[in-house]
Symmetry: C2
Subunit: 194 residues, 2 copies
Amino acid sequence: MPKIVDHEKQKEKIAEAVWNVIHREGLEQCTVRKIAKEAGLSAGSLRHYFPNQSELLIYSMKLVTNRVKVRIENMRFTGTPAECIKQLLLQLLPADEERRLEMEAWFSFTAKSLSDPALRPLRKEMNEEIYSACKLAVETLSRSGAMPEMDAGEEIERLYALVDGLALHALLEPERITADKIDSVLTRQLNTLK
Amino acid sequence: MPKIVDHEKQKEKIAEAVWNVIHREGLEQCTVRKIAKEAGLSAGSLRHYFPNQSELLIYSMKLVTNRVKVRIENMRFTGTPAECIKQLLLQLLPADEERRLEMEAWFSFTAKSLSDPALRPLRKEMNEEIYSACKLAVETLSRSGAMPEMDAGEEIERLYALVDGLALHALLEPERITADKIDSVLTRQLNTLK
């Protein structure tokens, strides 16, 4: 009987190998040969799934955005609106090792997108996802609280910048920006919205 | 009479060529051959200044940090403490084309530093520069204003994340994050400190 291969699982395994190679050696080292070795496959099998490096990179980044979306869809909120909003935004920050690896890959991809227009639509999709979460946060808190003379657009921009800046700092300085620090800085920022 | 060459000027010209190549083609394309062509030099002359690619990259990034420092040292402040603080922090944001090019190069370098430990000391130096500016901002505003029950360390972290997140968004979405938007978002953040 031929071995049954779950093709989606194989592709995810390859995408995770991309994240690992980015983590260890950087995005510029993501050759087909290295990724195949990391995933425990032959270069030929890898090419069966991804005919070229560009498709492989795009797929591995789509998997980052999908994982974030699935994580948010599967959340079960408890608590006040402010607490729920905080739980939602924490999904966008590298609070554990798994998310850290994804976000590190994502960050390298974002840098590459500055000079590679082909990567921009996918990057834009993720940015819009984060922006929407910040928009929801500001709108929810403004309905539940006071926020009398605030400009909602500006408040969204401000929260969006803080979330991405905090994610970046948590990647760069994990000893200083711990999960507790992320939580308290985010809480304080949300309090300035009320 | 032999031509007099200002060696520092030549090195700066080469470093600027690095920024241009990063902008157009990405950091992974910064080969000695390409940089030499961009700077209008032979590969041999370039190697005279920088024996290898790594030294060239480090120098070109040091120039980014130096330009930021010199820009801040040459500032002449006018206005209230809050206005002066805002002028200072705006130096750390890509408010014009020149700063944009520097910061784009810096951002690619930061991404590369995640997998290349040799680049980290220089990256850390720049991060500390930005952190110090945010610390000065929080301390100045807390002296001039009220800030009764605030945790200064947390406030610095929050401003630092906002400044870097805003810089990143201004690089990625220049049409949306205009100089005016940068100014108003920063003003609002500083107001939450008072």
